[in-house]
Amino acid sequence: MNFDDTPQEAAFRAEARAWIAANAPKQYEDELAKASLGRLVLSGANVLDVAKAWQKKKADAGWACLHWPKEYGGRGSSPIERVIWQQEEGAFGKLSRMFIIGHGMCGPTMMAYASEEHKRNYLPPLASGEKVWCQLFSEPAGGSDVAGLRTRAERDGDDWVINGQKIWTSGAHYSDYGILITRTDPTVPKHKGLTMFFLDMKSPGVEIKPIKQANGQSEFNEVYFTDVRIPDSQRLGAVGDGWNVSLTTLMNERMSIGASVATGFPELFDYCNDLVIDGAPAIDDRAVRAKLANWAVKASGLKYTAFRSISALSRGERPGPENSIGKLVAGSMIQEVATYALDLQGAAGVVSDPAQAEVAGKFQAMLLRSPATRVEGGTDEILRNIIAERVLGLPGDIRVDKDVPFNKIPTKGRG
């Protein structure tokens, strides 16, 4: 048992480290290191511009989307090299946030289902960050029940005509392209009538409205489609096979190993070292220690669970199912941590103005953003279902709409 790199891994790490040291936008390193959930501010700069510039620089030197094939803008690296890169990129990796959906979900879906010509045209600028992609899945009528979506696609000559609405689309407002799942046949059971496309977000009839979130920010959008035309050549997978195509996308969403999940613990631990309560550091208080210890072992458990998966990758094996716990644990933990950090501040915890609040309002921002971590990318409840069914082998829930034609499924709970 050891944490050492193999000689090849060590060589790769040294190369990555040297390149990052020479090329990363160091002027932002401090602010990036301090950024936490709900707050990423770079003084005197637009985050999107800085992120795009860093991504382009990486791509030009062959450090973008490492695990993708070279001809599509990647480096052809092994999974373990991708993990090593992420470790070395450190705080600068936070600049990749707006590319996560494109690189983690849209790219792999295009790679699996798009034509060779499309892959060569669209993937390299996606890898380099010159073009940003979004994923148009969730709808007002289908969140956890994605297959309940209602956006229609109807064939018209060589095109498909799209009408409907998507919601919770991350980054749609700065995206150039999107992958879109639609209903092409409402007369068959819900999973069978779906078809996937990709489209230009500037297409006529696409209207993007930012959602004002509960924390006051706007990372997500509603996207409306009115008679939007998509050529059939931009269909991904067979007509009616959209559900299977979407599973490729969602699997990739949940498989990103090594991308460290934020728990809020390091921030809380530092805070408790600095905060003085009744004349003594908060960390010397036994009640504080008990709370901290509980979160410390969770944060540590997540870290070493990732190390187990990384070890499997290092041996060239597929990681086990242990990594499936990450977001479930971290999501509720960061909310609890933020709540407790405010509790320690007493009445002053209510102040969120960065100029006035403790540690520049970091924990207040975390508190207000954290409810979303337990919903986005699979709710806590869906994640528990996945663990129970796929890891523990328990039977699926009984689905009353499974064999019912989609247009016969009730749409209202009452009345």
């Binding site: 070292n273 220690r289 072992v297 540590s300 458990g301 997540l302 290092s314 279902n385 523990l392 039977p395």
Partner: protein, 375 residues
């Protein structure tokens, strides 16, 4: 990175699992639970024959000298099977204390007997309610004899020898505490079994009356040796707890698959699925933390103190959570004497208290993290 047990170590685990499946079925645990023997003597001899008792003891002292990673995988299986034997007292505590601080003569005398199954050891530390602390130790050592009462002492009434923490000074410092080695068969000590929440393991009160004792380690280093022994034992105990947690999870999962209610497998209800998913989460976090502890233990890393506390807290939580929720998944049947759920519930709660309870380790963990942060 190779943060995983080797193929040889996994084979050893499989071997231990097969051996215990045959020699230590729930029936054997119940025999100790409901009887008065204190432990399963046949199983103890069998473990010695397999070489499991001396796996971390060097060959020159009668062990196989394999190492602590090997001991970790065996500990996990012992926990999984709820082995009703004084394994933790003898192997994690007594043997580790001897290996850390014993004189050559002490090691020559006791370690081969541990490896061969001839001697059961125990650590006599606690004196009533409270967690490990130098101030709590009243048993006094003077002129080579001990006086006072230790309780509870895990496996105290079945042990052949004990490592005893005793007071040699009254300065209020850790150096007031020294460790002693006592041959419990040589007279001067009276052992009384205490009824406890997990009768598949012995708990006792030991009363020392002018009991002859020999020093173990330097006189002023007793507490520091003890702390190191507890850290090492915490990692090993955590593996035992994770083994138990995994088995409790499997029992709950199997019952959820077999039991039909409302016309369907109860495992198809989300209320049951989510209980089991949370059990899996707790067991997985604990296992990963245990691996960190195993690495630190086997390499004598500077991180051992932090890793041991982390593994201990996480595994205590996981075993308690899984054994408790296993009963919940079973419903009423889980609360019968006949079903094995209560065996795991009892063991999880007894082990949670055995080396200092959660609050002790929580305090230790944060103290150690704070010191590292300052440094």
């Amino acid at each position: 990175m190779n943060f995983e047990f080797s193929d040889d170590q996994k084979q050893l685990r499989d071997q231990a699992r097969r051996f215990l499946a045959e020699k230590c079925p729930p029936k054997a645990v119940r025999a100790v639970l409901e009887g008065s023997a204190g432990y399963d003597k046949a199983l103890w001899s069998g473990l010695a024959e397999m070489g499991f008792l001396g796996v971390a003891i060097p060959e020159e002292f009668g062990g196989t000298g394999a190492g602590h990673l090997e001991l970790c995988v065996i500990a996990e299986e012992m926990g999984r099977a709820l082995a009703p034997v004084p394994f933790s007292s003898t192997v994690y505590l007594a043997a580790e204390a001897l290996m850390l601080a014993g004189s050559d003569a002490q090691k020559q005398k006791w370690l081969p007997k541990i490896a061969s199954g001839e001697a059961v050891g125990a650590l006599a530390l606690f004196e009533g309610p409270g967690n490990p602390s130098p101030q709590a130790i009243k048993v006094a050592a003077a002129n080579g004899v001990l006086n006072g009462v230790k309780k509870p002492v895990a496996d105290g009434a079945i042990a052949d020898f004990a490592i005893v923490a005793a007071r040699v000074g009254s300065s209020g410092r850790e150096t007031d505490i020294a460790l002693y080695l006592v041959d419990l068969k040589a007279g001067g000590v009276e052992a009384k079994t205490l009824t406890n929440v997990d009768p598949s393991r012995n708990q006792a009160e030991l009363t020392f009356k002018n009991c002859k004792a020999e020093p173990l380690g330097a006189a002023n280093e007793g507490w520091s040796i003890l702390t190191r022994v507890l850290d090492r034992a915490a990692v090993l105990m955590a593996f035992e707890q994770v083994g138990g947690a995994d088995r409790a999870l499997e029992m709950g999962r199997d019952y959820a698959l077999d039991r039909i209610a409302f016309g369907r497998q109860i495992g198809s209800f989300q209320a049951i699925k989510h209980i089991l998913a949370d059990m899996y989460v707790a067991a997985t976090l604990a296992r990963s933390n245990c691996y960190y502890g195993a690495w630190a233990l086997s390499t004598n890393a500077g991180e051992l103190g932090e890793a041991a506390a982390t593994a201990r807290i996480s595994a205590t939580q996981a075993f308690q959570h899984c054994s408790k929720q296993n009963i919940q998944v079973h419903g009423g049947m889980g609360f019968t004497w006949e079903f094995d759920c209560h065996l795991y519930y009892r063991r999880s709660n007894a082990l949670a208290l055995s080396l200092g309870s959660l609050s002790y380790w929580e305090d230790q963990l944060i103290e150690r993290m704070r010191k590292k942060n300052v440094a």
